[in-house]
Each structure stands twice: as structure tokens, then as C-alpha cells.
Amino acid sequence: MKITNLRYLAVLAAAWAMSPLANAQSTQADDATSVPAALPATEVPNAPRVIPGEKSWRLGIGLGYGQRTNPLIQSEDIPVVVDLDIAWFGERWFFDNFDLGFTLMDHSRFTANVVARLNSDRAFFGKTNTRYVNFSLTAGGAQEPLPASPGTPGTGASFDQPVELKIPDRDYAVELGLEMLLDGEWGEATLRAFHDVSGTHEGYEISADYSYRWIRGRFSIAPSVGVAYKSAALSDYYWGVHADEVLPTLQGYEVDAGVGWQAGLRASYYVTKSMRIALSANYERLQHSITQSPIVAEPDVIGYFAGLAWQF
């Protein structure tokens, strides 16, 4: 991973400098919209019990079975057997499952954070295989090794030898950006804009997501939809085949910018206060230009999980 760009630190420093303003705004908002932590039961004559404040740490674990398909050629699906939820929320800073953030504003209608995160596209490139391909020429019923042409890019070896077909390596990128979190009776929405600050892909991503949660008895169900625009630089870095990666088995390809979308459904049945049965399904459609890449076999990513989840 290359982390050479200091913009990341500069923006976080700027966020830190703005913290007094954020505190002032937040305090006003809290006063105006604070929800009682514990509403006294009207029928309970005893003094109302105050629900203790939330801990800074949030720890959860999900155990079960699921998987996420891998759209890359000659790749393996990603099994999901354990899902960890690790988060820490301070007054302004937070760590939320490898997102490091700072709250700029926290109002009754929205929260604005500056967040540093790792790009998620890289995850698919950790589950790929290398294959060796033999080329042969079939003519008149006879099969002969294909002669190598002079100047063939790649290994330069003769085609009578097996040729490596390998998905190019990709690095994790550290991205810095802003997120706006909104909620109300209408549901929850998230707007995000992130740019690479590690000099890895030099691109950016803008996304919008919406979800709505229903609770009936012990059941909770939350469908969600989202769209994401990925710049040409980001898309091409991960999903393109660059000039220095062209092989006899892998033709060059440049990915354009585009919009992908996703839809998901999460359901829970609360068995106890800390344990629930969790079901999750998600469909993600890759943007069109990515689906045309020679290293992409499937135009979508399908994920699902079923298991038990504990929150500590």
C-alpha cells in the first residue's frame, strides 16, 4: 500500500481545528431535539430508572454461513462465516469497522463526518488464481503449437510453452471524504464522496444510499437501495488491464467512469436482548464499463448470510 499523500493528514487536521464549532452546534442541536433516554412508564409508580449511557465501544460478532460472489475471472467466491463488528465512538472521533472518522456536525436532521477508509474493490483481488494456458493451432486435423510472433507483449516466450494467465495485483487505497447521514420518519439516507489520498488510483467515488427499517414484535426488516458513481481513474485502476499487464492471454482494456447500483435486505429476529438470528442478502450491479473488462466474468456481486449475531 502506498501512502504518500499528506492531504489525508491535512484534512483531518482541518477537521480537528473545526471541532469547537462542531461542539457548539451539536450542543444546541442536542438541547433542541434530545430524546429522553428512558421514558418513565406511566403505570410504574416507582421512580424512573435511567438507562445507562452507551459504552464507547461496540462489539458484535455474527456466526453462520454465507458468501459473496467474486466477479473476477478465475477467482473464488468469498466465504462469510464470521462477521465482526468493532467500533469505538468518542465525542467527535470514531473508529467504525476500519473507517476512521471525525464528526463535523451533528444535528437533529443530519450528521456530517469526515472519514478515512480503505477502498473495498481491492477485496476481490485477494481471492484469485493463476492458470497456465497452452495455445495450439488446429489445421487439417493436426494440432501444433502456435508459433510466437516477434514482439509479442508479455513474456516473450514461445507459445509452445504454457502461458501464465494471472489477474493483475491491485493495492488497497486509502480514501478520504465527506459523508452526510440523514434520517427521519421517511427512513435513512447516506451521501458520500471519497477521493484517493494514497496515490493508488487517484480517483474518486460518489454514492447515495437509502434504507427503511420496520419492526414488528421481535422482527426487524430493512430493505436498502443505493447508487455509486466511480470515476474513470478509480474504475480503471482496479478493473482495467493496463498496458504493462497485457499478455497473450489478457488483452488491454481501459475502464470508463460509470454508475453501479445495489439493493439489499437485512432481517433480524431478536431472541434475547443481546442475541438475534440474522439474515442478509445483497445484490450489487457493477457499472457497465467494468462488466466489459476481460478480467471480469460476472456483471454482478451477490452476497448472502444467515446465522446468529451477538452484540456485547
Binding site: L39, P45, N46, S108, L181, E185, S211, S220, A309
Partner: protein, 132 residues
Amino acid sequence: MRTRLTLLIASCFTALPTVAADPPVRLNVKPLLCVLDKNASSCVVSFDIRWQSTVSGEYCLNDEAQAAPLRCWPSALSGEHRQERLVTQEFIFWLSPPAGTTRVAEAKIEVLRVGSTDRRRERRSRHVWDVL
């Protein structure tokens, strides 16, 4: 060897009754959990309450919210009761002798607020492929 093992297992079981003896009165309440969404402050629950005792006697069912017992059973070994109730916070149902403060059995009703009272936590949805 087998005899020694059998004796060992037998001694384990003979010790069990004193450790895991059934309580004389058992109180079962369903459901034990009220699940609240972030904007909800209460849920209306119809509780199915059943109790059984190994000793016949007079038992009264109490609700923390009520000064007087919900119901009393004279000289009974078991009883059933259905109670509809607004739940806003944790409370306890318990069985006691009439006019007594001793709780011979109790069941705690818990309240789970889905999500967080911290707006930032509540609003931050996890990544698309996280399952929790």
C-alpha cells in the same frame, strides 16, 4: 476399569439433585422481550403467564407497575393468566404469597432499543457487504 468409571459417573449423578433441584415454584412468561425502534417509546404486549408449584398454596401474581396483585389463586398447584400491558422499560412479574413480600418466583421483562441513542452510530450504516 469399567466398574471404576461407572462408580465415578454414578457419584456425579447422585450429587446432581442437590445442585440442580427444580425450584418449588416455576414462573414462565412469554414474551420476555419488548423490541423498540428508535422513534418508539413503548410497545403493547400481551403476556402469556403460567406458573407451576410443587406445593399447593395460595399464590398471587404481581406486576412491578401495580401496587395490588394482578390475580391470586387460592390453594392451587398451577395457574395461567393473560395480561395486556404497555411496556416502556424493564420490569418484573413475580409470584408471592398473599400479603407477603417474599418473591417465590420472578420473570424479568427486558426492553431492547434497536439502534443507538447516539445519532452518529444510529445513522452510520455499515458497508454493503457487512451482514450485521
